[in-house]
């Protein structure tokens, strides 16, 4: 085995050297190949190798022999999804460039494909969340009469599917597609509200600490340090357990407690950022000028500091949204988050998780829990793409 690896590496090294040499000969020692480091040449060879393997694996995935095709089923889906989404993002960007205001056209012109994919995905999610009641074919808690439980996704009766329920049904016979759509409403909506609350808390306190300094800054910062010292998921779990006792007594839904708890825990991270950004703004001469003018605290924070802090805060908002969203999914997966019968992606993954064991011989059956997991992953990736792009823009890097 080790011999194999060494031989492959050496072979690729030789290929890389040959590739660079051939390039130098072909371009009569042009600067591109002449100054190419060996590592870059190696990278080209490695990249080509991986690409070739992916193409081979894809043909395997499409093979008529189900035994072989099943092995490469998920890779096939991934490749197809990747290509489809790329094309969709590309079309979306073209659309954005030709429709809309001057400002939005200009924005789309300088946008990388990843960001346009992110924006497109977020828009689709937002659309699904807002119009869930209209779009979803069934109710989120509706156990459909006459439909079997555990229908395999794919809609192929030969493999245990049902064309009426293309995404299958869950363990008690609810339509997975409808639950996915309602899940967007519940999970994403609650995550959005939680993130907003976390930013309101953390942002306000952070700017106050940066502007006033002194004992208030010390007090808040140390408090935040204490909260941050406790692992956040375990802390949230602990507080949720306490809350689940209180909630019925007080008659307040557990979800409200969850939003508050996650918002407070996440606001510590926002606080740190807001304070750091605020501090670098507070030392500017224009803040000194405003202070000497006799401006009040409100003017300083909202008119002088906040407009200059929007770019990093907005980027953090996207990132924080992902974390909050994942925390909610994780809590739901552990059984203390969004409570049944409300549809939630985390809960769906937990409920159908057992099917993953069928992945090797019945990949379609294993897709059932992966649909919800995929929905989570897709949104997280999309938001991060948009955040990356915004960070890049606000940092002023052009090329």
């Amino acid at each position: 085995m080790i011999l194999w690896i060494v031989a492959t590496l050496l072979g690729m090294g030789a290929l890389a050297w040959g590739f660079r040499f051939a390039g130098q000969a072909a371009t009569s020692n042009g600067p591109k190949f002449r100054d190419m480091p060996f590592g870059v040449a190696y990278g080209y060879v490695l990249g080509t190798g991986i690409l070739l393997w992916l193409i081979w694996a894809y043909t395997q995935g499409r093979s008529a022999d189900t035994a072989i095709a099943n092995k490469f089923f998920f890779l096939r889906i991934a490749i197809e999804g990747f290509i489809l989404f790329s094309i969709a993002a590309w079309l979306f960007r073209i659309l954005g460039r030709s429709v809309g205001t001057v400002w939005s056209k200009k924005m789309f012109r300088s946008m990388p494909l990843t960001a346009s994919f992110g924006i497109m995905t977020i828009l689709i999610y937002a659309f699904l969340a807002i119009f869930a009641g209209v779009i979803a074919p069934y109710g989120q808690e509706e156990v459909i009469l006459g439909a079997a439980a555990n229908i395999v996704p794919g809609g192929d009766p030969a493999l245990g599917g049902d064309p009426d329920f293309y995404f299958g049904t869950d363990q008690i016979g609810r339509d997975i597609l409808s639950r996915l759509i309602y899940g967007a409403q519940n999970t994403v909506g609650i995550a959005f509200a939680t993130t907003l609350l976390a930013f309101f808390l953390g942002g306000t306190l952070g700017f106050l600490a940066a502007t006033l300094g002194g004992w208030l800054d010390q007090l808040l910062s140390r408090l935040v340090d204490v909260l941050m010292a406790i692992p956040s998921l375990i802390f949230a779990l602990l507080l949720m357990t306490i809350a689940s006792v209180w909630a019925p007594q007080l008659g307040i839904p557990l979800t409200v407690f969850m939003v508050l708890i996650i918002a407070v825990i996440d606001s510590t991270r926002v606080y740190r950022l807001a304070r750091a950004v605020g501090q670098s703004i507070v030392v500017m001469d224009y803040i000194e000028a405003a202070k000497l003018r006799g401006e009040g605290l409100g003017y300083l924070v909202f008119k002088e500091i906040l407009p200059n802090a929007t770019a990093p805060l907005l980027a953090e908002f996207g990132l924080r949204f992902c974390f909050v969203f994942l925390t909610i999914a994780a809590l739901s997966f552990l059984g203390v988050g969004i409570q049944p019968p409300l549809a939630d992606w985390g809960t769906m993954v937990r409920d159908l998780g057992g099917f993953v064991n069928f992945a090797q011989f019945a990949p379609l059956a294993a897709t059932a829990p992966l649909l919800a997991a995929g929905a989570i992953a897709l949104l997280t990736v999309a938001v991060n793409f948009v955040v990356d792009w915004m960070l890049h823009k606000s940092s002023g890097l052009k090329e």
Binding site: R34, M284, Y286, A289, K291, L292, R293, N308, K398
Partner: protein, 549 residues
Amino acid sequence: MTEEPLLKMRGVKLEGRSDEKWNPIINGVDLTLARGEVLGLIGESGAGKSTLGLAAMGYTRDGVRISDGSVEFDGIDLLKASAAVKRELLGKRIAYVAQSAAASFNPAHKLMDQHCEGPVQHGVMGRAESEQDGIELYRKLRLPNPEQIGFRYPHQVSGGQLQRCMTAMAMSCRPDLIIFDEPTTALDVTTQIEVLASIRDIVEQFNTAAIYITHDLAVVAQMADRIKVLLKGDEVETADTRTMLSAPTQEYTKSLWAVRSFERPLKPAVLTSAVPVVSVQNVDASYGIVPVLHDVSFDMYEGRTVAVVGESGSGKSTAARCITGLLPPKMGQILVDGQVMPADYRKRSKDQLRQVQMIYQMADTALNPRMSIGQIIARPVEFYLGLKGAEKRKKVDALLEQIELEPTEYYNRLPSELSGGQKQRIGIARALAAEPKFIICDEVTSALDQLVAEGILRLLARLQDQLSLSYMFITHDLATVKAIADEVVVMKDGRVVEQGPKQEMFQPPHHPYTDLLLSSVPEMDPDWLTNLLEERGVDNIGDAAVGKM
């Protein structure tokens, strides 16, 4: 047969990328440099001096490209040379000294370690040999304690010393060509002299060719054999230093030379009965437990300018902070119109705050980048004068006209859309908007080019005449003092060393420190540095002269 030049640049064109297209920075400049020759490259900021200096090494910054022309160093075409060939040349035969030594040294390594890296990497010397050579260079550059200084970290030596360490590092491989990119711009006048003298000595000693980039004409007059003037990427003229100084042929060059002649007429002496607008009385101040001001007293009268001069760290800006109330003094008091002001600015009334306004050195950080020019100026108008709507707009327009900017054009612009000089004008307008009696100008022209700075000084002078304002003018540039001041206060180590009317201050006899400061201001005479060094004795420039007092 004439000797082949060391560096030959022919029709070099450089382009920079912004707004998704390539914009020209340098439009075809020729440059020839013989062995051992020093060429001064001068021009305003944005003229492309630094870009051209870097191109002489065959190097461009990110987002800049050489679109045309050739750069030939000792017969090697740097633009076509491979990376391996360039690696051999750069650092070994061509060296670069950057403007900010503090930002160019790696703070995590000792000076000597960084010094030896070049020679050892290039295989010029071994490590031990290179260390010996480093100590020798440090001695030649007259650094204090040359055996020990190499074992310090960059933050443990002063700015002037660090700049000399960088020159030593550039010298470590005995290059044929060194490019100095504004090496003394960030330094005080007294420190500048030491660095200039050491650079000139060492360049002469090793017969190194150099390109000396600067915007300070007086400095370039001391250093260069020839001067090339650049304007917006074009060469204006090139000539021998003496010819260039005595008989410039181009209009632009003449205007550069003329800047230094601006001077205001003398004003009559202040009446003894007059109440000073601002009076600083026996002020002691400290940052934490570190004392910075000791018994500082001076008065400022209506319609007059008091220039406060001194090196960095002398307490000039601290005195201003005491007057504004940002740093309440430990002892003593600040009087405005004979009334005692509360020490802390938070305890001052709106009207008291209005009377003292400030203009900052860096207009970039003094204007909120997210507010439009109109908003910036309108805020104090609204805040202090309570004007609203159309009245406010009228006042702002009037202010913009006062600072010579067209209101309709500039009202909605953001600060980032203005040039450095225009930004500084906005800073002035914001101060004027409060209708103050007294304005503190903290190094307002030191970040600006000479022509632009002159415009600002003329504007301030005109406003003073119109509105009978008082200025406290903090600066380390004595040429500015000569141009605008009525009275001069010289500060050193937190004490007022000497003060009096300008005409007295620029005539002997003085306190020795004032003397040192005045004689350290570079003059346009190419022999000035040589004469000065002879006068002071070559071995005790700067440091020694300060120590003598």
